[in-house]
Symmetry: C2
Subunit: 371 residues, 2 copies
């Protein structure tokens, strides 16, 4: 497999012509959406990709941006999402902070950042913004709508609101709604941020973020992104270099697992706006397919026109456990979609789609090849 740095691509931002009416009420004006395209657009080859909570629109390298993207191993010539065939369009979610309008953007009504004045955000709005951006970009209806994790929820929000625009679905490590354990984890992440005095009710200065809260939030998240068995295998009870028994070091880093969490927190801090994190995290808890059917999932999904769907889960996922993908696959099937549900044996938990390329490439590639 060659790399995709030579694949034709484009990077841009699009201003939505119309104000965006929001799912929970209210309207956003002067909305901008950052997008990135990898591969050439041809008849019936558009794959719309929604992202997880924290990635930007740079899913893979192309002539437009030759640096590796967050799903580089999956997207490129000859890869699972083969750019010789597919044109991948990835958008930065509404509410995020990588070029799309979100709480860190300037509110045109005040000239100040929105911060907590940003209206209540739902993943249905992420989907609506993507729909409007497609229109603005004069893009055709996607052939495939794909998303992992939060992106899988955004993809569901897209197909529920625009059923005629999503003939085929790839839903990865996601669910029709969050369960209380996942809500608890995200609630604690949000609480860690909100309790950081530097957060200051969202009014932290542009260049000074609530570091402590963001560090803790990332580490709490890491508890759910990987799996206990993977950590047991990788770290066991290894101590960091220089550890001496009895040296408490004021309860600082002593075990390798602590050093690993620290390294992840270090990389995260400064890379994501805290208020944007709160909005997107909450939107994930808020999302519920059943809301589109007066509390009934089957009624909600009855509107679907999708033909085929791939639903992938991972045995070791504790954030979106495999039972939730089985439920999703079964519900889509009842709605008349031809569904393949695949529960992979990856040991890396929820984040497997970012690291266990072999298993994911095989499953996604096989599905796309059949289309």
């Amino acid at each position: 497999m060659s790399d995709s740095r030579g694949v034709p691509g484009a990077v841009g931002r699009v201003n939505l012509a119309e104000p965006l009416a929001l799912y929970r009420g209210g309207v956003l004006r002067e909305v901008e959406i950052a997008w990135e395209r990898v591969g050439e657009l041809r008849e019936g080859n558009l794959l719309l990709l929604f992202t997880g909570l924290s990635p930007n629109a740079h899913a893979a390298s192309s002539t437009a941006d030759p640096s590796p993207g967050w799903w580089e191993a999956m997207i490129g010539p000859g890869k699972a999402i083969d750019t010789d065939r597919w044109c991948v369009l990835c958008m930065n979610s509404l509410g995020s902070c990588f070029g799309s309008t979100g709480p860190a953007s300037i509110n045109p009504a005040t000239g100040e950042r929105y911060r907590l004045d940003f209206p209540a955000l739902a993943l249905q709005d992420v989907a609506r913004a993507a729909r409007a951006a497609l229109k603005e970009l004069h893009m055709p209806a996607p052939q495939v709508v794909c998303g992992p994790s939060l992106g899988g929820m955004s993809a569901q929000a897209f197909v529920l609101q625009f059923p005629d625009l999503a003939p085929n679905l790839v839903l990865i490590s996601t669910a029709m709604q969050a369960r209380p354990f996942a809500i608890a984890i995200r609630s604690l992440q949000r609480e860690a941020i909100r309790e950081d005095p530097a957060w200051d009710h969202g009014r932290y200065p542009e260049d000074v973020e609530p570091v402590m809260g963001m560090r803790l939030a990332r580490k709490i998240g890491m508890l759910s992104y990987r799996s206990p068995d993977e950590w047991l295998e990788r770290f066991g009870r290894d101590r960091v270099a220089g550890y001496k028994p009895g040296s408490r070091a004021d309860f600082g880093i002593e075990f390798e697992i602590e050093s690993y969490l620290e390294a992840h927190a270090e990389r995260f801090v400064g890379s994501f706006d805290a208020n944007c994190y709160l909005y997107l995290s909450h939107a994930m808890d808020d999302f519920d397919v059943a809301e589109h059917g007066d509390g009934d999932i089957d009624k909600a999904l009855a509107r679907l026109e999708a033909e085929q769907a791939l639903v992938i889960g991972v045995e070791s996922d504790i954030l979106f456990p495999p039972a939730q993908q089985r439920d999703l696959g079964a519900a889509l099937q009842r709605a008349g979609v031809d569904v393949a549900t695949s529960i992979l044996e990856s040991r890396q938990g929820h984040d497997s789609f970012l690291v266990d390329h072999e298993r994911f490439a095989a499953a996604v590639g096989a599905f796309l090849d059949k289309l």
Copy 2:
């Protein structure tokens, strides 16, 4: 089953005559241990009970203190730990804050609280303090040594150091050493406390504790004390009363699961000293049976003289998963102990021993009845 309020008991504190040499080095002087006895001491009927991280020595009611104890459902006349037969002696762990010497106690050398000047604490020291207290109280060797969670590790530390004093063991929801997932959770709890500006490197005033850190620590702990399935059943996606869709309420409490976590945090704050929490939490990560055998568990356990052991785990425990109880049971068996390993189907996770009385009473009662 009658209650145990009329059962003869005693409550006291004992000053250790000798300075306590610590497992990781150093010596503690003028050590005091708080203890509580339920039932009358007779020949061969002493059951020594170690506690989990946060309970005090008041395991059950008696004439000495008729209020319900933390294991009230298990201890009393006709109950699983039948006080008509057994005399239960429960001690507040060294390092804790309910009468036993710990970081919140006055350092006799300075007249000030120890705080972080308290020496490195190991569960081996909790066991040593208990051994010294038994001696000081002129108590005979226990017939049974019992402990849940951290208490099960203290019980193992006791039998490893005083093998002739523990003929029978009841080890509940515990392990021979912590795995990295459990270490990660406790590390984050400690970090939340340490990052609270009010913690002030352990120098918070006596009556002002690091509330934010302790609240977060408790909630992070709750992620591991129960089970995702129990929460799914109990809370689902229920919203709190008064919830309106789209009312973000500044990311405050919206789901019932969040309200539940909040209630637990409320009860915890003010009930436990933050520095004591750090020391005991770290001691739990630090504990490793293998250390007593140059890294080899079987070599460590070869010294045991115990005759019978009951090892209990719970299917839904994610903090000390059942594989760890199976490992412990198998290792004790290899060491020549007659072991019954019982993995219960309780859905309440690690905390099941505090709430699923029916299953635990049956298992513990059956074991003790055979002795």
